[in-house]
């Protein structure tokens, strides 16, 4: 009977995941059969979802472009550069930072970071306004997609850092010592013995960070003053799926509710693909990492 209960719990998890997909699909269906003119924007579901999918991807891309190099460097610092005693404490601090609730990051981004970035944005618009990404006039509040991306970067950085640190610590000690014994400098040792070993792990950590950045809601909902899709990163505008749902779902009813659930389904599928690719890389890496 106990084994039955254990099996049942396992089956329940499978059922829950299928239920998540099923209920989202069922609740989203009315959107697809509805008259395109009734959908928000008045031109069908695709025209409604496309800008916010692009917005989601833009915010996540900014976040990863910032967080990946810094996160990997932080992981290297805690695993190979910091003094041993300091490293343990730092690892703990990074884990704690990963646990700070997203709404706190969002509040910080909205009230502190956005106002700090007003001046740099104005400067960017003035001097680099000819690049479409920095086309002016800059937002007067600093609540732009770039700010949201930076807040997302701050949020995923501890995740990338702590995952890659684990990989770096697993790099075979013998290889590292052999490299040092042959006269390699520390950086050469890291490039020859640590980074090749950790490549798969870094990629999957970044993918997991991407999954988090795509689905992150509160930071964007609080930081971004949303609007239609625009190329400029420093004007208010753009919107992400998750933030759109969080902002509108509490007051939504009827077709609007189904629409938002359909948007959630799209987000679910995107993150599902990202996570599956990440897991696939991890598993493939596991088989080949027979360094010992």
């Amino acid at each position: 009977m106990f084994s039955g209960a254990a099996l049942g719990a396992g089956a329940l998890i499978v059922a829950v995941l299928f239920a998540v997909a099923l209920f989202l699909v069922v609740q989203a269906l009315p959107t697809f059969s509805a008259n395109p003119a009734d959908i928000t924007g008045g031109r069908g579901f695709f025209d409604y979802i496309f800008p916010i999918v692009v917005g989601t991807l833009i915010a996540a891309t900014i976040a990863l472009l910032i967080a990946t190099p810094i996160g990997v460097a932080v992981a290297l610092f805690t695993s190979h550069y910091a003094p041993r005693r300091l490293a343990r404490g730092l690892g703990y601090v990074v884990d704690l930072l990963a646990a700070i609730p997203s709404v706190v990051y969002g509040a910080w981004g909205a009230s502190y970071l956005a106002s700090q970035l007003k001046v740099p944005y104005a400067w960017l618009a003035e001097n680099f306004g000819w690049i479409p990404l920095f086309a002016g006039p800059a937002s007067g509040t600093g609540k732009t997609i770039l700010t949201a991306g930076i807040v997302l970067a701050v949020m995923v950085l501890p995740i990338i850092a702590s995952l890659t640190r684990e990989i770096f610590l697993q790099a075979p000690m013998l290889h590292q010592e052999a490299a040092l014994a042959l006269g390699a400098t520390r950086w050469e040792m890291i490039r020859m013995a640590v980074l090749p070993f950790a490549r798969g792990g870094i990629i999957s950590a970044v993918m997991l960070g991407l999954g988090r950045a795509l689905g992150e809601t509160m930071a964007v909902a609080l930081v971004l003053s949303s609007g239609p899709l625009i190329a400029s990163l420093i004007r208010s505008g753009n919107q992400t799926i998750a933030a759109e749902i969080a902002l509108d779902f509490p007051e939504a009813f009827g077709l609007r509710m189904h629409e938002l659930i359909a948007a959630g389904l799209v987000l679910f599928l995107i993150t599902l693909v990202v996570n599956m690719v990440a897991r696939w890389i991890i598993n493939r890496h596991k088989e080949f990492s027979g360094a010992n």
Binding site: M1, F2, S3, A5, A6, G8, A9, G10, L12, I13, V14, V16, L17, A19, V20, F23, L24, P69, G71, A73, V74, L76, F77, Y81, D95, A99, I100, P101, S102, V103, V104, G106, A107, W108, Y112, I150, T185, R186, W187, E188, L208, G211, L214, G215, T217, L222, A242, I245, A246, F249, F253, M257, I261, G264, L267, F268, T271, L272, N275, R279
Partner: protein
Amino acid sequence: MATLMTERKRSALTRGRLPKYTPYVIAASSVVVAAALMALIGFHVFGWAVLSAVLFATANVVSSALVEGRRKATDKLATSLVVGAFLVALLPLVSVIWTVWVNGVPGLLTPGFLSTSMNGVTGAVDNASVKDGTPVLGGVYHALVGSILITLWATLISVPVGLLTAIYLVEYSAGNRFSKVITFLVDVMTGIPSIVAGLFAAAFFAMILGPGTKTGFVAAVALSVLMIPVVVRSSEEMLKIVPNELREAAYALGVRKWRTILKVVIPTAISGIASGVTLAIARVIGETAPLLVTAGFATTINMNVFAGWMSSLPTFIYTQIMTPTSPSNADPSTQRAWAAALLLIILVMLLNLGARLVARLFAPKTGR
């Protein structure tokens, strides 16, 4: 003696090296030069620190390249970049904690903040506190109660399911195909965006109990979807490291499998399981998005998770910032939001520390 020193300096082993005191000299001079430059364009402590660091790194790398050669210089450049990136990463993180601390302490220390709800606190009350200096009324009692109840129910759902699944995966499945499917799906579940979990719970209960059903229990179901995979993963890891000799010894004594699991395997792994569960709680107690779409907003105390809208700390922070109680005077609402944020961070930190403590306290006694 003097000849000996010069001899040693020319030795092949020490040739082409900078003396040991070089970094200190470079550090001191770059601090001074940066101060001088800053004095020209207007002094600013932060700019001074950044400029000193940049000057120090550049001078260090250039001097090394001139004397020690390309390889050593590359090494120093990499070290500068790694340390620099670490310091850059610390900036926003320290800034977050500092902002929350500075803005949160006054509100948290306001009498009654922890023991009153927002019931009866209207825009007029907030306007009065801004204009006449009366104390900021209202607190987080209702949100604290909501957070604790919702998280408690989520834990009650997730821990049995998650732990039993882990037991199935480790003890019963023997690596069959179904267990591989479960492991894969648990991994996938870990990556579900929290808002999607909230939508699922909302859609599920909308179909069963009619649209617009928002209660604490719906929120608890949403949080369970996020919590179960974390519990499964951590419990699975812990059960895996229980030595097989213990199980075999129990079987040799004629103990049945389920009794072996309950009396031998789980007690051995309980410290890890408990700390994993605590970390899972710490993760979901700060979730905001699923609560927004499942539990609604409330300003009064609601002890019943099965009926009525419920507030929670994260949604309290969100609503106080997005829709201040008094739109014309947002300051009291902002103060309450920051105080609630500080309280939430303290809760999460305590849970994390608690997890470490639990892991240490309940660790299985080693024989001697």
